[in-house]
Symmetry: C2
Subunit: 271 residues, 2 copies
């Protein structure tokens, strides 16, 4: 590890969604400082091509590296699904995505039934979750479905009531058949729609989101490499950067993070 154990953990996402992963990281590793970048000027990634998402991801990583991070967490499922090999090849620090931890968490939950995966068109098209599940356990039956309207519904706060329920019914009907007993929420926005998703798939289907599993993976990796911040170091620092104006990020982000974001700096990244 090039940077010291005192260096911050870098986290990027296309916008606010990745703050759910940051929240889990802060709870799991309370002594770590963090630097978060939300690429709000180019959000969303989920409907864009793998090529463009990879280009944006490399630029995001470069920005965070300049801030001296010791490890990069790709908190965006779409970027984790399509850009992880390019990021690992380009970066001198370890890179942790959300796909593999999420897939492992699902395998730990399923009782030999099928595992469903929902995500953005980019994530599902990539087949990354399906590959991660099947390479870990070739007997698993993975069933994936893109749910493109869930991100705008969550962003606009339409998380309860008839509209999200009807949309969820349309997307998720297939998961209530075929013996699926575990459903991966393969997008950081989807936990906000947990209520309607659970209502549609029923109590016999466990919902898995990768935020906590990813925080566990980061803790294990840092511990293994002797890279954990010492508890004696005092209060950790948390910095926030965005590529569009920060007001909406700070306002909506506080809901995702579960604590106020008192400052976020706008940066111009040339892509």
């Amino acid at each position: 590890m090039r940077q010291g154990s005192h260096s911050p953990i870098g986290v990027f996402d296309s916008g606010v969604g990745g703050l759910t992963v940051l929240k889990a990281l802060m709870a799991r590793l309370p002594h770590e400082s963090t630097v978060y970048l939300g690429d709000t000027a180019r959000v969303p990634y989920g409907t864009k091509s793998g090529e463009v998402v990879t280009r944006y991801s490399l630029k995001n990583a470069e920005f965070l590296l300049e801030r001296g991070i010791k490890l990069l967490v790709v908190a965006c499922n779409t970027a984790s699904a399509v850009a992880l090999p390019a990021l690992e090849a380009a970066l001198p620090v370890p890179v942790v995505g959300v796909i593999l931890p999420g897939a492992r968490a699902a395998l730990a939950r399923t009782q030999g039934g099928g595992v469903g995966i929902i995500g953005t068109p980019g994530t599902i098209r990539s087949g990354a979750y399906q590959r991660a599940l099947e390479s870990a356990d070739p007997r698993v039956r993975a069933k994936a479905r893109a749910c493109p309207l869930f991100v705008p519904l969550a962003e606009e706060g339409w998380t309860t009531g008839d509209v999200p329920l009807l949309v969820a019914r349309d997307y998720l009907a297939e998961f209530t058949r075929d013996g699926v007993d575990t459903l991966v929420l393969g997008c950081t926005h989807y936990p906000l729609l947990k209520g309607v998703i659970a209502e549609v798939v029923g109590p016999q289907v466990a919902l898995v989101d990768s935020a906590e599993a990813t925080a566990d993976a980061v803790a294990a990796l840092l511990s293994e490499r002797d890279g954990l911040a010492p508890a004696s170091r005092g209060t950790p620092e948390h910095a926030y950067y965005v590529t569009d104006v920060p007001e909406r990020f700070m306002e909506v982000g506080a809901r995702f993070l579960g604590r106020p974001i008192t400052a976020a700096e706008q940066v111009d990244l040339t892509f």
Copy 2:
């Protein structure tokens, strides 16, 4: 006019929506060649800040200028609402947005009642339609409402059925009161939802979209400046550029344009 009358008309939008404006232009001015740029790597503009949308708009315009355009049509309502002054100041060719033509078309339709405007958060927040209407006729009563879910619904093809109907009812209930007799569809995606919008506001409200009014404004401006392409020039050429991979643009775009798009070239614009 710096370029000759044989030069193409440039048109840009954040994605496919502006093709409805291009379609009206092709019908109104069948001898004109055109160059269209869809900024699909950064779509949507409607939820981003005016600052970022202005930056993207200037880059789009620069790219089209390099292709020798004689006039620029800003086919995106959000970009027209926030970036027109910056574009006019920076460009050596005339710039036509969709707001003023749309506002004029609404004033021509209203019978002295109120005029409603629906658009993206960026368009409505800018107040551009409201200003255009009130400066043209101080007696007009303008009532504006952002409808952020309409773009993803139209993009995903959810244009009929219960979901768009429920969303439209939520957004548009206020326009069925207060004597609004004309409603401006202030986003190029919204004509795809005309059916549900009309069902909610009822037959006493006229729906106005700015595509045809914008084509008329372009025809008038070119004619006035002796810039119309001569009818004798032979078959006009139509070129398409996008900033993300072209496949989805060509497929979805054909629906918006009403004719096949046989080729679209991906370009990397550095923003």
